[in-house]
Amino acid sequence: MKVLVTVMPKAGVLDPQGKAIGHALAGLGFEGLGEVRAGKVIELELAETDPARARAAAEAMARKLLANTVIESFRVEVA
């Protein structure tokens, strides 16, 4: 089954990329734009068919490799 791991900069941690994107969008004339944050998403195809176990596996992968928990937080969605 498919699992999505979304990795975002932690709240309070500087996100230079998000800042630059926000700036560029405003420059293009898009209005009413507040904060912009940029993160990663990793789509995993797992052989596991049990949603709970798939989620647990993805969480382990996120903690071990996909996210740098010093500066990033992650969430897992089972599709």
Partner: protein, 232 residues
């Protein structure tokens, strides 16, 4: 020849490029600003130099491609103007749709700063007149996202129309996988527009124009331009 080099926030190889153009033409190029909406009258070459415009955030060259000056550059290219995009400048040209394809992350997933060898695929262009067809020259590459990608139909069209300008090759001129460090499709290092006046390439020939620094392997490219544009 009257050249203009465009400065974007984060551009960092504009001085290298200015030195190369000056060496080839004896004339100092103008520095243009990304917010300008028109090119100086008489401009016959626009250069989009290397660097990290907008920090390379989101996608390399994506934000620069939306700059006010790009509109003027597009119109200039449509009128048959010469546009050279190197490294980040090549990325901008693809992001702006002036050249087809895209530059993905290097296949090694690492920044690659090293010499490479480029095979000249045709010598009848404003950029390559001083080279021979099939000639190989050394250049420096310095990029994280130089992996040229286009779908097969586009690649076939580029090849069919002779728009591949330069390929990564061995010093002996073979376009092998080993010579293609960033993983570019069909070893493509540089491509041309159909009128041969827009060139985008990843490596930096502007870093090999001075015998005191690192040889003059890249100088013919700028001399070719000077010649082509002096004649124009």
């Amino acid at each position: 020849m009257q050249a203009g080099i465009v400065l974007f926030p984060g551009t960092n190889r504009e001085r290298d490029m200015a030195l190369a153009l000056q060496r080839a033409t004896g004339r100092r190029p103008a520095m243009l600003w990304h917010r300008d909406t028109a090119l100086p009258a008489g401009t016959d070459l626009v250069v989009l130099p290397g660097g990290f415009s907008y920090g390379d955030y989101l996608r390399c060259g994506a934000m620069a491609a939306q700059s006010p000056i790009m509109r003027a550059i597009r119109a200039f290219a449509d009128r048959g103007g010469h546009v050279l995009g190197v490294c980040n400048g090549f990325q901008m040209l693809t992001e702006a749709g002036l050249l087809p394809g895209a530059l993905l992350r290097n296949a090694t997933l690492r920044f690659l700063s090293m010499d490479c060898h480029l095979r000249v695929e045709r010598a009848d262009t404003p950029y390559t007149g001083r080279f021979q067809r099939g000639q190989v020259f050394r250049a420096t590459m310095a990029h994280g996202d130089g992996n040229y990608f286009a779908d097969d139909a586009t690649l076939d069209r580029l090849e069919g129309e002779g728009l591949v300008a330069l390929r990564y090759a061995t010093p002996a001129g073979e376009a092998t996988p080993e010579a293609n460090r960033n993983g570019s499709a069909r070893n493509i290092a540089g491509i041309l527009s159909p009128n041969l006046r827009v060139l985008g390439l990843m490596p930096h020939p502007e870093n090999q124009v001075d015998p005191q620094i690192d040889g003059t392997d890249g100088l013919p490219l700028f001399e070719s331009l000077a010649e082509a544009l002096a004649a124009a």
